[in-house]
Amino acid sequence: MPNHGAYPLRSLEDLQAVAELGRQRISPAQPKIMIGMATCGQAAGATEVLEAVREVVAQDKLPYVVSETGCIGWCSQEPLLDICIPGRPRVTYGRVTPARARQIIRALPEPKPQWALATMPGDENTLTGYYTSYLAGEDTPLRGVKSYRDLPLFKRQLRIVMRNCGLIDPASFEEYIARGGYTALWQALRTQTPQQVVDGVTKSGIRGRGGAGFPTGRKWQTVREAPGSPKYVICNADEGDPGAYMDRGVLEGDPHSVLEGMTIGAYAMGASEGIIYVREEYPLAVARMKDAIRQSEVAGLLGANIFGSGFGFTVRVVTGAGAFVCGEETALIRSIEGKVGEPQQRPPYPAVRGLNGKPTCINNVETWANVPVIIARGGEWFASIGTPGSKGTKVFSLVGNIENTALIEVPMGTTLAEIVYEIGGGIPGNRECKAIQTGGPSGGCIPASKFNLPVDYDSLTAAGSIMGSGGMIVMDDHTCMVDIAKYFLGFLEDESCGKCFSCREGTQRLKEIVQRISEGHGVDEDLVLLEELSWMVREVSLCGLGQTAANPVLSTLRYFREEYLEHIHHQRCPAKVCRQLITFAIDPVTCNGCGACVQVCSGKAILGEKNKLHTIEQAHCTKCGACMDICKFDAVTVN
């Protein structure tokens, strides 16, 4: 990060000088090419695309700027490449390959309509409240390419947490400031007392985004009033729920928003030290956060006497070691202290006695990222969004059997139907939607018939699931609910820390029973036993993991009892998933003997010469279904 001579930053004017540099980076005078380089982008091939773009620009000596950006959330279209030409709408290209990237670049300065997904005529910054138009004159639409404003995936979204994701280079401190970053920190430190900051957060009505939904303002007030020094603030970025990656998106796409939120919180609560606890499965998020901390230290926004206010704060990153239970706050604290991550009895709550026995505020990534906006726009503004009991927006990862797999942010109270059918574009392949799983292993499956449910903390709990951290896994009729219950129980059995007997043994026994049912050996009494045992695990276990461990069983039993009974009474898996209850066969009429299935068969169970009919020897079949996946002629059937 270049030192502009303005560091350490002391005033709003200093910030504005940096913001001007950031604006020049965001909207340079030359055409700019942006590539989404979050982990998911890289997995889809963005690194190769970036290399190809850099190569073309260097080879052809093109006067273009090449930049990285975070995840805009359009996961199904990764890798994404954007072209920003001064005075014109930004153009997004999807599923870009290095070859396509070269063609797109060589066609410039006129953007190719081919492969273009959408155009963006401007963006609304929820932090400042201002809309920035990219246009110099008329909107010049690309032939046949829709505007972001008209795309169902984006038009319902309201981006507070993800305000900068996919718009800025996450490695650029200046670009963050150009989008209004750190003005909320200045405002808090220089124009408000700590109590006023807490009051603003309380007024906003925001509840913790990690899953449990505890009112953030109340937690802050408790920590503020708790005796003891030093106090700590912790960012819980141990995003362990399978199927959820909102936090990764924010940490990788806009790390400073989390840092700024934490610094504001620390000022409000009188904390001097901050820790960001990131799971080790997110190496890029760790690197981005460490870079951001270093930049803020250089600029004087971390360390002693921030903005000349006399307030000092430091932050460090602690990397998790791979334990799901460490997402629970008391286990997380134990892990930071170098111990095994076993949850502790509450109270005392960490707000009173937390890390090293001192008052500690633990909030989730998304909660922290909301804070600068709450301060900048005011608690009342934030409270005007959402439902009476759940304020603001929520980021969801919409994945599974859905057309638009995406990271989306919508106001609380949006219905599941709107999310799945409008934003998500429905189920691919004209299949039927069966259920949506929310809340990770602590959550439950909500059937498609209940999709008119508004998404907020209380409605989801009433439906037998929970909001959780925001993973939404859509399931079509190829998903077996008994198998899903078994999957989550297997997860929890593995991840139970073992401290409470009820959870350690209970999850094992629950899994055994469900396993038995999935193998066709279940009896009617098993369902009664499942419910009884579930009740016991919930009532007797110490922490959230155990208390909610039965939710996947209970919710599937509640809504999909028929499916369990089908396994028990008829040894039949309607979704054709449970291996002991299905057989694969090759249709003699359709099979043309291409031999593809023979090669992929994991049990060497397929017989037959090339160009002749193939058959499956059932005794050797492992039911992996690879033959079915590879057959281009739909000759493999399952029953």
Binding site: A43, G243, A626
Partner: protein
């Protein structure tokens, strides 16, 4: 424990203060350097931090990222998050185990591969997902596993048995990003 590993660990230990909170970061460093936690290293850590060896062992066995046995040259992590599960993650894991020939502990006899299931790599939009060493691969259906692993196998003489087995059809050999039709 080979002398070379010990030689790497000593300077690594010097970088940390002797506080208990450093236990996990130290073990992570050793794991990153040696690809596992050698017994002698655990002893030295216990001595350095003045904590009982049993405490160090408890932490080393509680957390998933640590291994007490040497790992293969390539670490293959198959994601079993929910999104990957509904898109066939379990089958991908089984296929990977068969293709690499790993034992129940997850490591192949030639020490080329260690295969493990991971809870969620957070790339759910691209499920099923697999990570080999530091590279994450998208859309790795079970039929693509063999092709993907080819580049991580040791080069073999042209006449070996491996060359004779028919290759997976070309279109399912995975290049980053998978099937972008």
């Amino acid at each position: 424990m080979p002398q070379s590993e010990l030689g790497q660990i000593e300077p690594l230990l010097q970088e940390f203060d002797n506080t208990r909170a450093n236990l996990i970061p130290i073990l992570q460093q050793i794991q990153a350097t040696c690809s596992y936690l050698p017994q002698e290293a655990l002893r030295r850590v216990a001595r350095k931090l003045q904590v009982p060896l049993s405490d160090v062992y408890q932490v080393a066995t509680f957390y998933r990222c640590f291994s007490l046995k040497p790992r293969g040259k390539h670490l293959v992590q198959v994601c079993l998050g929910t999104a990957c599960h509904v898109r066939g993650g379990q089958k991908v894991l089984e296929r990977t185990q068969v293709e690499t020939g790993v034992d129940a502990a997850g490591t192949s006899a030639d020490m080329q591969f260690t295969v493990e299931a991971v809870r969620c790599l957070g790339c759910c939009g691209l499920a099923p997902v697999m990570r080999v060493d530091k590279t994450t691969f998208a859309h790795v259906e079970q039929t693509k596993v063999r092709g993907l692993l080819t580049r991580y196998r040791p080069r073999k003489p042209a006449t070996s048995e491996a060359e004779k087995t028919p290759a997976v059809p070309a279109e399912s050999t995975l290049v980053h990003g998978g099937d972008h039709a």
